[in-house]
């Protein structure tokens, strides 16, 4: 249903056009999304910097580049920062930017609630990071903050209090944003945009936002429980609260992994289809599998708790392994889209293509860690660290960059540089794999995660050194990305983006680059919506009309 804005009554306030108010008090979903993405991008560099410090410390045994206590702050802030403050906001902001455009809505539902979500996120991030400025340092109990370690008895520092407060605020903000975007795609679609004409990316956001709404409240409760433990740590002398905390935490903690993944699968799907000049293969199967994937992902949380000896292992193992069915369908659809097509190898396409094998490594090792008899060895070892970095860094981050290079011209009207884009891509591929592949062997050899150092006698030196060198390459890759952003923005006059520079298929490409405040206007009206690829349909019709019969 389209929202028809007819003006028949006396006027009221108008949006201001002077920055910064036009941005910071905006009701335009695009601006709120760009603010969120920009904030998350800045934090991505910060959290990546923390990781570089950790990798440098681990390059050699018995190193004292950073102190033990500092190291614990580093991995806590890196992990929690990346998950709560970087990738989740990025994933949801991508949806906030694109969903209203893709479904032909002029606005996001409840824009002020969306903006409230952004501010909760920003203030939350500030609270979390301000822990570094306190006397006891930032939180240092890991992103999982297991009890009773994170109770006031064992972690009396204010940094942990701030961490709880900040993550509560920003996750609440994410729930608000997810709610308004879900409402938009379900109830604010343009006329003719039936549910089965909603683009794959927007469907991925439906699944994502459902998970956020159903699973994130559990994190809020878990953080609330932590807050209780800050005031009266005695609650955690009873086992039910310790194991209960883990259940509450992982009930959020697994779905969030998919929240940080689905939007990027959606982005990869759009990129693959666009540069294959085809519609995405197996649309309905993909939509169904995304929803089933999301539902299954709600049921697998206990696979993080096999070694607690207190969960029904076999249930969680069953549902976790069942995930290979929807995942397999999505891989089938991705490959079906590109096999036999005439591909164009633009920078977004490179990232999307690399996503396929790289995420696969994360997925296949995911089956291993979901197998209890293997997990008894791999849990809390570097094998797990390698596994989830393959899903989140080699997978989601590549999907993010595919989407970023793809939609940046749409959002800004500026094309990103191709040369630096290639440098960025290839350095990323080398860096990611050099950093995370050795970690599988480290884990198998018995290196536990979350250790600030190891002994020369452990024999972990060589692999750790390779991994550290890889992380430096990754750092250089991110500098190339930053340089590309800066150069492209500085030279924006010569890098103007057309409305549809990639010949893409979905509605956001029918409007201007950047789109007008209400997305479509007199100069850029909505085209007829005939399928989930309206612009491709128009082009094909155009070609057919001109063909001599």
């Amino acid at each position: 249903m389209t929202s028809r804005l007819t003006a028949t009554e006396p006027p009221g306030p108008q949006p201001t056009h002077e920055p910064p108010r036009s941005w910071l008090a905006s009701t335009d979903h695009k601006r709120i999304a760009i603010l969120t993405l920009g904030t998350a991008l800045v934090l991505l560099f910060a959290m990546g910097g923390l990781a570089l410090a950790m990798r440098t410390q681990l390059a050699q045994p018995d190193s004292d580049f950073v102190q033990n206590d500092t190291y614990n702050q580093l991995f806590t802030m890196h992990g929690s920062g990346m998950i709560y403050l970087v990738i989740t906001p990025m994933a949801l902001a991508l949806g906030l930017y694109l969903v209203p455009l893709q479904v032909g809505s002029p606005t996001v539902a409840a824009p002020r609630t969306t903006m409230l979500g952004y501010w909760l996120y920003v203030l939350g991030a500030i609270a979390v990071l301000s822990g570094f400025l306190t006397a006891g340092g930032a939180a240092k109990e890991g992103w999982t903050a297991y009890t009773p370690l994170s109770s006031a008895r064992f972690a009396p520092n204010v940094g942990t209090d701030l961490w709880i407060l900040g993550n509560f605020a920003s996750s609440l903000g994410m729930i608000l944003i997810a709610g308004t975007v879900l409402w938009t795609v379900l109830l604010k679609r343009a006329r003719g945009m039936t549910m089965l004409r909603v683009p794959v990316f927007s469907w991925a956001m439906v699944a994502t936002n459902l998970m956020v709404l159903a699973a994130f409240p559990s994190l809020l409760i878990a953080l609330g429980l932590l807050a209780v433990g800050r005031m009266s740590p005695d609650v955690f002398s009873s086992n039910v609260w310790n194991i209960g905390y883990q259940h509450l935490f992982w009930f959020y903690g697994h779905p969030v992994v998919y929240v940080m993944f689905f939007p990027f699968v959606g982005a990869v799907a759009e990129v693959l289809a666009t540069f294959a000049r085809r519609r995405f293969f197996g649309y309905k199967a993909t939509v169904l599998s995304l929803l089933a994937f999301a539902a299954l992902s709600m049921s697998v949380w206990g696979h993080h708790m096999f070694t607690t000896g207190q969960v029904a292992d076999d249930y969680y193992s069953l549902t976790s392994i069942a995930l290979l069915v929807p995942a397999g369908i999505e891989y089938f659809a991705m490959l079906g889209t590109i096999i036999g097509a005439r591909l164009r190898f633009s920078v977004p396409m490179l990232f999307a293509l690399a996503f396929i094998p790289q995420f696969l490594v994360g997925g296949l090792t995911g089956i291993m860690v979901a197998t209890p008899v293997l997990d008894y060895q791999m849990q809390d070892s570097y094998f797990v660290v390698a596994h989830f970095h393959y899903t989140l860094a080699a997978g989601s981050l590549f999907g993010f960059f595919a989407g970023f290079y793809f939609w940046f011209p749409k959002a800004t009207g500026i094309m990103l540089g191709k040369g630096l884009g290639h440098v960025h891509f290839w350095l990323m591929v080398v860096g990611i794999n050099a950093t995370f592949l050795p970690m599988f062997w480290l884990g198998m050899e018995g290196m536990p995660r979350r250790v600030a150092s190891y002994l020369p006698t452990d024999g972990f030196g060589t692999l750790n050194f390779i991994s550290t060198v890889g992380s430096w390459v990754l750092g250089v890759a991110m500098l190339a990305f930053a340089a590309n952003l800066v150069v492209s923005i500085v030279r924006r006059r010569t890098r103007r983006a057309a409305d549809n520079p990639w010949e893409a298929h979905t509605l956001e490409w029918a409007t201007s680059s950047p789109p007008p405040p209400l997305n479509f206007d007199a100069a850029h009206p909505l085209p007829p919506i005939t399928s989930f690829t309206p612009l491709l349909d128009l082009r094909r019709k155009h070609v057919k009309d001109r063909e001599p019969t």
């Binding site: 249903m1 028809r4 804005l5 007819t6 003006a7 028949t8 006027p11 009221g12 108008q14 949006p15 201001t16 056009h17 910071l24 008090a25 905006s26 009701t27 824009p111 002020r112 609630t113 409230l116 952004y118 609270a127 209090d161 605020a169 409402w183 379900l186 109830l187 549910m195 459902l210 709404l213 159903a214 699973a215 559990s218 807050a227 259940h247 009930f251 929803l291 539902a295 299954l296 709600m298 049921s299 206990g302 207190q310 969960v311 029904a312 249930y315 549902t319 057309a498 680059s513 789109p515 007008p516 479509f520 206007d521 007199a522 100069a523 009206p525 909505l526 085209p527 007829p528 128009l538």
Partner: protein, 170 residues
């Protein structure tokens, strides 16, 4: 060809699949407390489905809703919430301070919306290659006319608002 897929069915179907997984959990004998936790999440999904159902049925549709054109209240509400939370850490006096942004937010909130039915000015953004759509159906044209009308009315609205502000300053 396809029976229209109703959005509420998407949410309901998703909740139902989750419900099946909850039931399967019973077979495996997980602790009732944590089966209940999953059950509660299914309940949340059902609430979302209910909201979507009611939202769809809202007979007045979008036209009834007011349009917000500014969102300072968002920052103020967030500030109030985080200050109140910080009160738990640094002392309850901070919670008292949270009242200031809260009141400010409530005051702002009402000034941020257009009167019912009015639309904000649809300003244009310059682009390099403004393409005309290739499809020549009536739909886009009709839409364009509508959008243009909205722009004119809204531009008038903007003028009126500016005048009002100027007069209120003196």
């Amino acid at each position: 060809m396809n029976p229209a897929l109703k959005p509420v069915l998407v949410v309901l179907g998703w909740a139902a699949f989750n419900a099946v997984l909850v039931l399967l959990m019973l077979v495996y004998g997980e602790n009732a407390l944590f089966i209940g936790m999953y059950g509660a999440a299914v309940g949340l999904a059902l609430l979302v489905a209910g909201a979507v159902f009611l939202g769809r049925r809202d007979p007045a549709g979008q036209g009834r809703r007011t349009v917000a054109v500014a969102s300072q209240s968002g920052l103020l509400f967030a500030l109030a919430a985080v200050l109140a939370g910080a009160g738990l850490i640094f002392g309850y006096w901070l919670t008292g301070f949270a009242i200031i942004p809260l009141l400010a937010a409530l005051a702002r909130q009402r000034k941020e919306v257009l009167p019912r039915g009015a639309a904000p000015a649809a300003t244009e953004v310059s682009t390099l290659h403004s393409q005309r759509p290739q499809g020549g159906d009536g739909g886009p044209v009709a839409k364009g006319v509508k959008a243009a009308t909205a722009t004119v009315v809204a531009a008038k609205a903007a003028g009126w608002w500016r005048r009002r502000r100027r007069s209120s300053r003196t």
